[in-house]
């Protein structure tokens, strides 16, 4: 029974997740780009790769921008969260097998203790974000159920993965839940707030070009 459920979630369900993620992301990126070409010509005309690149490089460097400098705790949490959030799923030992199974590719794995620590960091950072949503008034003011949903979807695979790895609660149940939440994670990237993962580059490159090219001033 467990085996067949496991096969379903890592098989057809996982493929469904990948399909929605890849096709959905492509669709959103392409449709917004073509809409911009039609309706935002007077903005798109100023976009230049080198400005976008400068802007991205500054903003992916901790404390390199006014925004990051002004919010040190958030900077540490945001970078820890995003780095671990991307590295763990890709380089976790147990996932390497799945990569091979799904895509026939393989690479070196992170040592399990490192991956475990990184998972804890994701969970701690998420707890910090949750704390801000409740206790920091400028964040609480903006927070709606959508933001909670986003946070829960983002952290759920890490929480379930952590519980499964440490065999807390029922392992088999956790692992299935882990895969399901992982699939949800993929499915939601193209939509809602999580779409900042794919669309944030657009706004970054555009505003970078706009500031550096038109306003002759940095956007950081």
């Amino acid at each position: 029974m467990y085996n067949s459920i496991y096969d379903v979630v890592t098989g057809p369900l996982a493929w469904f997740g990948w399909a929605v993620f890849i096709l959905g992301s492509l669709y959103r990126m392409a449709s917004l780009y073509s809409e911009a070409k039609k309706k935002d010509v007077s903005s798109l005309a100023y976009v230049k790769a080198s400005y976008g690149f400068n802007s991205i490089m500054h903003w992916i460097t901790p404390f390199a921008t006014l925004g990051w400098k002004s919010n040190p705790a958030m900077t540490v949490a945001t970078f820890a969260f995003h780095i671990c959030l991307l590295a763990v799923p890709v380089f976790l030992g147990a996932h390497i097998d799945l990569w091979y199974q799904w895509f026939g590719v393989s690479w070196v794995a992170l040592p399990d203790t490192v991956a475990d620590t990184m998972t804890v960091l994701v969970i701690l950072a998420a707890a910090f974000f949750a704390y801000r949503r409740i206790a920091v008034k400028e964040v609480a003011f903006l927070t709606t159920w959508k933001d909670w949903m986003t946070l829960i979807i983002a952290v759920a695979p890490f929480l379930t993965g952590f519980l499964a790895y440490h065999q807390i609660l029922n392992y088999q149940f956790m692992i299935v839940l882990h895969v399901i939440t992982g699939v949800a994670w993929l499915v939601f990237i193209p939509f809602g707030r999580l779409s900042h993962a794919i669309l944030g580059w657009y706004s970054r490159v555009y505003i970078g070009s706009e500031f550096q090219g038109v306003r002759h001033c940095n956007d950081w």
Binding site: K39, S55, V136, E138, V139, G200, R204, E210, C217
Partner: protein
């Protein structure tokens, strides 16, 4: 958890009569017309990707000045206005439109300081201008601001200056100046001049001495210059801020065309921030010009050029230390911070920087048309910019007596702040100091 009901409504007859004429159907139709016809992927990306992290809050002087009240944070203003318009697809009532208008017209200066704080590069100023555009199309605009926009459409200038009053003001200033500079002229409609000098409507109306000063500087520097006798002379643009983009386009077209008809080599603008924004950033784009059809140079750059080439020399430097207010529209808007510091160091003994400064400077809270919303909203600017008062006070404590602000709006805004917070500082344009302290080889001996 937090009360989102608007509890700081300011009475304005323009906004009130505007919403009195609205019906839910008209609102819905207009809102969706703007969303489907005018905005596109840019608004969608900004709106969808904002992760509601609140990092932008401390960027905004309104938020900082109101003891970190979240309803004044950039993203907070978005969630109280355009988010709801988008989510409800325009199905909102007239009172909500009043709230949108008050926030977008008077609680945001479109200064874009928040861009420096947002990891995703979201431009709240842009979203606030979309709200203004909607309010304009609904006829819900602050009365004073609308009056300037009406003046623009009736006279092509901001201050109801009639055509003969314009040339009269110029001739009057020429006559005055001749007591000091016997050969000085304000050359009208001269063909093929190197410099076409344009000003904002308030100069001939209230600040005519600025035209005198500019004329004196151009004359002393031996510049081949002209001013137009016909509409087009006013480079200002309150229509851009009221959301009347059609009018903004007409204004920029007549401004550029008037320089083109005179075959002027370039346009030099007086010390104004928003007019410059309208020329290089918004008006040109509305007309489909990627850049401007005639080169436009702001006074800061022009003065820097005159000083660098030795065309103007200072007889003495202004006693320091002074401090510099960086106007958003020419600094965060055009990167003229180094030129500005060069000019100040050439004409003043010393200067002390305010913190933060240059492209990170706090706005004066007058910009974005807020000061033009008039007396009903004066306290919005005063209470909303304690941050600037604190900056100025810190400079004053270091011995600064004079603030240099090369922007008309900033002057108005800072004047009010200095008075309201009893800071006892003096305000100057660059031109004030250059005119007063330059070597005047062409003037009569005293």
């Amino acid at each position: 958890m937090y009360n989102k009901i608007f509890d700081r409504k300011v009475d304005d007859i323009g906004l009130q009569t505007g919403i009195d004429r609205l019906t839910p159907e008209k609102i819905e139709k207009t809102v969706n017309e703007v969303f489907s016809g005018e905005t596109g992927a840019k608004l969608k990306v900004y709106h969808d990707t904002c992760v509601r992290c609140g990092l932008c809050a401390s960027a905004c002087h309104y938020y900082v000045s109101h003891d970190n009240d979240p309803s004044y944070s950039p993203a907070g203003k978005v969630t109280q206005t355009i988010s709801i318009l988008l989510d409800k697809k325009g199905k909102v009532g007239p009172d909500f439109i009043y709230q949108c208008a008050q926030i977008a017209y008077t609680e945001c200066n479109l200064c874009r300081r928040c861009v420096h704080y947002c990891p995703l590069g979201i431009d709240t100023g842009y979203m606030m201008s979309v709200v203004r555009r909607i309010c304009h199309k609904l006829g819900v605009t602050p009365q004073y601001l609308q009056d300037t926009a009406h003046s623009h459409s009736a006279t092509m200038n901001q201050m109801w200056v009639k055509d003969d009053e314009w040339t009269d003001s110029l001739l009057w200033q020429e006559e005055e100046a001749r007591d000091e500079f016997p050969d000085m002229r304000i050359p009208l409609d001269k063909d093929g001049a190197d410099v076409y000098y344009s000003v904002i409507g308030p100069e001939p109306k209230f600040r005519t001495h600025l035209i005198y000063q500019a004329g004196a500087i151009l004359h002393e520097a031996g510049v081949n210059w002209t001013m137009p006798s016909m509409p087009g002379w006013d480079n200002s643009d309150m229509a851009m801020y009221s959301g009347d983009f059609e009018m903004m386009g007409r204004l920029k077209r007549i401004h550029f065309e008037s320089a083109q008809k005179l075959h002027s080599k370039k346009i030099v603008m007086g010390e104004c921030g928003h007019a410059f924004r309208s020329v290089y950033d918004q008006g040109n784009r509305w007309l489909g010009w990627k850049d401007y059809p005639v080169e436009v140079v702001h006074s800061i750059e022009f003065f820097a050029h005159l000083l660098k080439t030795g065309k103007i020399k200072m007889a003495e430097k202004f006693p320091g230390p002074v401090t510099i207010h960086d106007p958003c529209n020419v600094i965060r808007g055009r990167g003229l911070m180094n030129e500005l510091r060069y000019v100040v160091s050439e004409i003043c003994e010393s200067y002390i920087e305010m913190q933060p400064n240059a492209e990170h400077n706090f706005c004066c809270a007058a910009g974005g048309g807020v000061i033009n919303c008039g007396p009903p909203f004066k306290n919005v600017r005063m209470d909303g910019n304690r941050a600037k008062a604190d900056q100025l006070r810190a400079a004053a404590e270091q011995g600064v007596k004079t603030v240099i602000a090369p922007c008309h709006n900033c002057h108005g805004g800072l004047e009010d702040i200095i008075e309201h917070y009893e800071l006892g500082l003096d305000l100057k344009f660059l031109g004030d100091i250059i005119y007063a302290n330059m070597v005047k080889t062409k003037a009569v001996e005293e």
